[in-house]
């Protein structure tokens, strides 16, 4: 087989399939983990009927949603109603293309990169694509012809738009420190700097994480689907697989936000404490463990935080949410960018 075909077609195809399967599997089991962890936080047992300890629960859920009748409300805008879940789901999956899960390794004399693409504008790509998802939510809410859905969609739009700005600035602070927009480049920069960026950029990291939680519409910022007020928000009228797509997209977005936090601020696939443990016995051992493990471990921590928040916090009110976004996070993130820029200028000359 000629080399270019192998390199350009076959390997990426295999990677895409593997990536999709792995991501969807993680997403499915993330729902299981959420239910289980929440249950233990709330003195319950969680799913434990399907399979040993309920491990097959996500499969059962998926199956149920798959064979469920696909209802379209009478007054709905049919076409828009149909494509809205896809508009939400596709960007959520596409973003995984640029997430570096580990460092390149050798197999049978070939270098395999555990990421689909290392493009030099990866961060811009993610920020751009992620803001497409909101269209699906607005359209889904609007096309349902339900006032509760519409309000959910509007809230979601306002929320995502206003939190994208401080998030962008927070990301920019990491970019300033790394000097590149490539995801791989940012991780390499942290290796070269011997420090993860969340230490010098602690403010930016905090802003990023708050905005990330808000972007994914999760507690305490889960207003668009606040069940007490808006029943289920924008996806009130959705059922079956279309609902499942919204649901999966939410969890995929959680993964993206967590993965971004890992790459930008927590050293990506690098083993922990690159500078503190240097020279200690632990370092070679930690370095021997594959990078993908560290990446997933760090990502799991952030995902756990999501679930933890959900078990702990009440929900913000809409106006309070806007206040937090515009009056606090926005000026704070601006100041942070300037601070970091100044620091970079002084340190790097």
């Amino acid at each position: 087989m000629p080399e270019p075909i192998l390199q350009l077609l076959l390997i990426p195809l295999i990677k895409i399939v593997v990536l999709l399967v792995v991501v969807l599997l993680i997403v499915a089991y993330l729902t299981y983990a959420e239910r289980k962890i929440l249950a233990y936080m709330q003195v319950r047992l969680g799913p434990n009927r399907v399979g040993p300890k309920g491990w097959l629960q996500p499969v059962a859920d998926g199956l149920k949603l798959f064979v469920k009748e696909d209802l379209v409300p009478g007054g709905a805008e049919k076409l828009v109603f149909m494509i809205a879940p896809a508009i939400v789901m596709v960007p959520a999956l596409v973003m995984f293309a640029v997430i570096p899960f580990g460092e390149p390794f050798q197999i049978a004399g070939m270098t395999v990169t555990p990421y689909l693409a290392d493009i030099n504008i990866a961060l811009l790509f993610i920020l751009g694509v992620s803001s497409l998802g909101v269209f699906g939510i607005i359209l889904g809410g609007w096309s349902s012809n339900n006032k509760f859905s519409l309000m959910g969609g509007l809230r979601s739009a306002a929320q995502m738009v206003s939190y994208e700005i401080p998030m962008g600035f927070a990301v920019a602070s990491a970019v300033l420190m790394a000097g590149t927009l490539s995801m791989v480049g940012i991780v390499e920069a942290q290796r070269a700097a011997h420090i993860w960026f969340f230490l010098p950029g602690i403010l930016g990291f905090g802003i990023y994480w708050v905005c990330g939680v808000a972007e994914t519409n999760r507690n305490p910022f889960d207003l668009p689907e606040a069940e007490a007020e808006l029943v289920a928000g924008f996806h009130t009228e959705y059922s079956g697989m279309k609902f499942a797509l919204f649901y999966l997209a939410e969890y995929a977005n959680m993964m993206i936000v967590s993965a971004m936090a890992v790459v930008l601020f927590c050293g990506g696939w690098l083993p922990p404490f690159p500078n503190l443990l240097a020279g200690l016995w632990a370092l070679p051992v930690l370095a021997w463990i594959p990078g993908a493990f560290w990446f997933l471990a760090k990502m799991s921590f952030f995902l756990f935080c999501y679930i933890w928040f959900r078990g702990t916090f009440p929900r913000y009110r809409f106006d309070q949410l806007m206040n937090v976004g515009w009056k606090w996070l926005f000026p704070l993130s601006l100041a942070n960018v300037m601070l970091v820029a100044l620091g970079v200028l002084l340190l790097k000359g």
Partner: protein
């Protein structure tokens, strides 16, 4: 639409939205017809009657003791007070005074029921504001209370546990010890809920200054219970018109100062602590003796009208009974449910606030539709 120079830049229309009766957060089948300006509530009108079962009319067709099981179904998270209110009113009518042991046992049951009811309130109130975890903690403790009830009378929810003239059953063996154990353990659990909510910044921002009702308005509307006490009016039927033996136990009536949802939350939390205090005293003072007063098998009423009320967890629960000479059934029985009266404050409390505040207000009024519609 307006014409001329006053015409706004955009055509703005109020959105009419029918909220409920099958909405997950309206605590039953309450329906609210709302006019919204964006997220702001211009007008909210409660529409009730979806759970109307004609209880008051039913009372007229059955003998006095047969009414009691039907009172269970009025405020179904709070059966003991419904029984107690009816029994007290009937005893007033018939001139029966119940033995002290029965009175103390009634107080124990009533205070346990108050705890159970407040736990349901806290659970649903917190869920409405987005905190899901307190729900499971409170229901864990509520279950222990229900276990105690089950052991005593066999039922967990619709207790039917009081009789005109006393109580139907003596306590099972060891019940008092188990009750005392629960009473000792419970204050720590209240602290647990408070850790999750009382100082939580989001909880405070969602409740402080929300659903304000002035003491004057509260009195004029006839609010009772925590909604009234949250507005700083010290009014508790147990204190002002003591029934059973509430005059023999010591307890405080907590009141709020800011008239808002947060104060009503604090009032109810403190009420739980006071209930524990009452329970402790009752368990200590519980006298020996009969549990039934001497009452005829078939109750025949004198002619007359009588009103009796108890302090249910939601407010003043009153029964007004009109009886005919030698009658065995009420000629007319009107129930004064606290939720029904408290609900009428809702339109004023939510006017001009956001949709999300309405959830907080519905939660803080602690309404039960079974009682409102009867």
């Amino acid at each position: 639409m307006m014409n001329g120079p006053e015409r706004p830049l955009f055509d703005v229309e109020e959105m009419e939205i029918s909220f409920g009766p099958q909405h997950p957060a309206t605590h039953g089948v309450l329906r609210l017809q709302m006019k919204l300006d964006g997220e702001r509530i211009v007008e909210a009108k409660p529409i009730i009657g979806y759970l109307h079962r004609g209880t008051e009319k039913l009372f007229e067709t059955m003998t006095f003791p047969a009414c009691i099981p039907h009172t269970d179904r009025l405020d179904y998270v709070n059966a003991a007070h419904n029984n107690q209110g009816f029994c007290i009113t009937m005893e007033k009518l018939l001139g029966i005074s119940i033995p002290p042991r029965a009175a103390y046992l009634r107080m124990i049951l009533a205070e346990l029921q108050r705890l159970a009811s407040h736990l349901v309130w806290l659970a649903t109130h917190a869920v409405d504001i987005g905190a899901i975890t307190p729900f499971f903690y409170t229901f864990r403790e509520r279950d222990e209370i229900l276990d105690l009830f089950e052991e005593y009378c066999g039922a967990r929810l619709t207790l039917n546990t009081m009789k005109i003239g006393g109580l139907p059953f003596e306590l099972p063996q060891g019940w008092l010890d188990r009750c005392a154990k629960f009473v000792d353990a419970f204050p720590a659990h209240i602290d647990e809920y408070e850790t999750l909510l009382t100082t939580n910044r989001i909880w405070k921002r969602r409740t402080i200054g929300v659903g304000v009702i002035s003491p004057e308005d509260a009195i004029n509307m006839g609010l009772t219970g925590p909604p009234l006490r949250g507005s700083g009016v010290e009014w508790d039927i147990r204190k002002v018109f003591p029934y059973d033996r509430y005059d023999e136990v010591e307890f405080d009536v907590p009141i709020g100062t800011n008239c808002d949802t947060y104060d009503r939350y604090l009032v109810r939390i403190e009420e739980m602590r006071q209930s524990i205090r009452i329970l402790r005293q009752c368990l200590e003072k519980l006298p020996e003796g009969p549990i039934m007063a001497k009452a005829p098998k078939v109750l025949r009423s004198p002619e007359g009208m009588v009103y009796g009320s108890v302090e249910s967890p939601k407010g003043e629960l009153g029964y007004f009974i009109v009886a005919t000479e030698k009658g065995t059934t009420p000629y007319r029985c009107r129930v004064r449910p606290p939720s029904f009266v408290n609900l009428q404050a809702l339109p004023q409390m939510v006017k001009g606030s956001l949709v999300a505040d309405m959830m907080a207000v519905i939660g803080t009024l602690d309404i039960v539709l079974g009682e409102i519609d009867r």
